[in-house]
Symmetry: C2
Subunit: 215 residues, 2 copies
DNA sequence: AAAAATCTTGACTATTTGGTTGGTTTATAT
DNA sequence: ATATAAACCAACCAAATAGTCAAGATTTTT
């Protein structure tokens, strides 16, 4: 399933100039919205970061709200794409490994998407339409059902599947959202490639064991 | 150890009128800052929520930045107070139980503090002074050392203690920060008292087992 | 009860900012 | 080559908003 509500801005396939400008604007906007917040990010600051005059930005996107919606849409698409899907035939061990690996990868490779998403939710999901807000309910229900099957079958520990999903989401996303804090605590300037493997290993190890899927 | 940089606003013990007004303002401001962000929260909107004229708000707090700093300070104090401390003599099991219980309690009882904190960190900790930014490094180092002792002693699984602390922080805080999403997914209007116990049980159970501290 | 300190508030100001306009330049199609 | 459409952009405007001020009201101190 894919989120399909495209904005006018990103839907119509136009010339490559448009595509390129829109991308520059969207990237700039994403950063500004994270750092300054929705209200704090001025169209001028987005334009500056994108190296375009303000009027040009508003030529491609009718108004600020539209820019934000486009950014949000990209974020949701990414979330949707990056979430590891699981199937009954995977069995619990492989399923958990898959979800964790996918989520950690996404957190490290695209922290900004994660941050935009987190900001939006923390602030009350004001800009998310009903559809996007409730979309995950179905996803969680489906996956929970699969986990329950494994639990009833004695293939894993009897833990609440919904909480388990939250646990995996929160721990993985944490490395993106709280990047600033984590780097400060570890006294480092940036994440490195190895961190992905290290974190994936740590989480997989402890969670699998927590689910009685590992000695 | 306590964060001790008090703002002018909260430090000087003044009359009860001042105390009462400041509290009303700070509560209103906390909500506005969460919902609207720093820039988006207008002094007028804070005043409205606090049921005071704007000029009165600015009489108690010189400017908006000051209001925000006071809110942030309260948040940090709470974080500091609410974090379960652990000691070597507790042993790993009790220590983890204590931290989880303290953090879950804080997340459910004071979600707004958690949200303000999360917003600040995600946005790059722009308003946190160096001291506050690096404060937790020491905390984490200390606790990691204790965990390492237990690990070397064979009292628990060989998991990375720093990652373990992040895991506990993220999972517990998640219930506060992503309240909106969690309630939507669970199709509920509000958290209830039992949720605290349920979540505490779930997390303690799975994490203890993940650390080989439970069958 | 008078004086001093604290508190309250409407009115005003300077600045920032989202968005518009209209004219110019550049790219594309015929 | 010429016409048409797309892209560019300086200058402008109206609304929102942080912060000031000065005068009056209330509380506290002496």
């Amino acid at each position: 399933m894919v989120l399909t509500q495209m904005t006018t801005a990103t839907s119509k396939k136009q010339g490559k100039i448009r595509a390129k400008s829109e991308e520059k604007i969207l990237n700039a906007a994403q950063e500004e919205f994270i750092i300054q917040g929705y209200k704090g990010a001025s169209v001028q600051s987005i334009a500056d970061r994108a190296q375009l005059p303000k009027a040009n930005v508003l030529y491609y996107f009718k108004n600020k709200e539209n820019i934000y919606h486009a950014v949000l849409q990209l974020t949701l698409d990414m979330w949707d794409k990056g979430i590891g899907d699981i199937k009954l035939e995977d069995g619990p061990k492989k399923a958990i490994e898959k979800i964790i690996a996918a989520k950690v990868e996404m957190a490290f490779k695209n922290p900004n998407a994660s941050k935009i998403y987190a900001l939006e939710i923390i602030q009350g999901a004001q800009h998310l339409k009903e559809f996007a807000r409730t979309y995950q309910r179905q996803w969680v229900r489906e996956k929970a059902k699969i986990f329950n099957h494994w639990i009833e079958n004695g293939e894993m520990a009897d833990v609440n599947p919904v909480n388990l999903i939250f646990l995996i989401w929160s721990t993985t996303q944490h490395y993106a959202d709280f990047e600033t804090q984590i780097l400060t605590i570890m006294n480092r300037a940036d994440y490195e490639e190895e961190d992905i493997a290290q974190v994936t290993y740590f989480l997989t190890d402890i969670i699998l064991r927590g689910c009685k899927l590992k000695a």
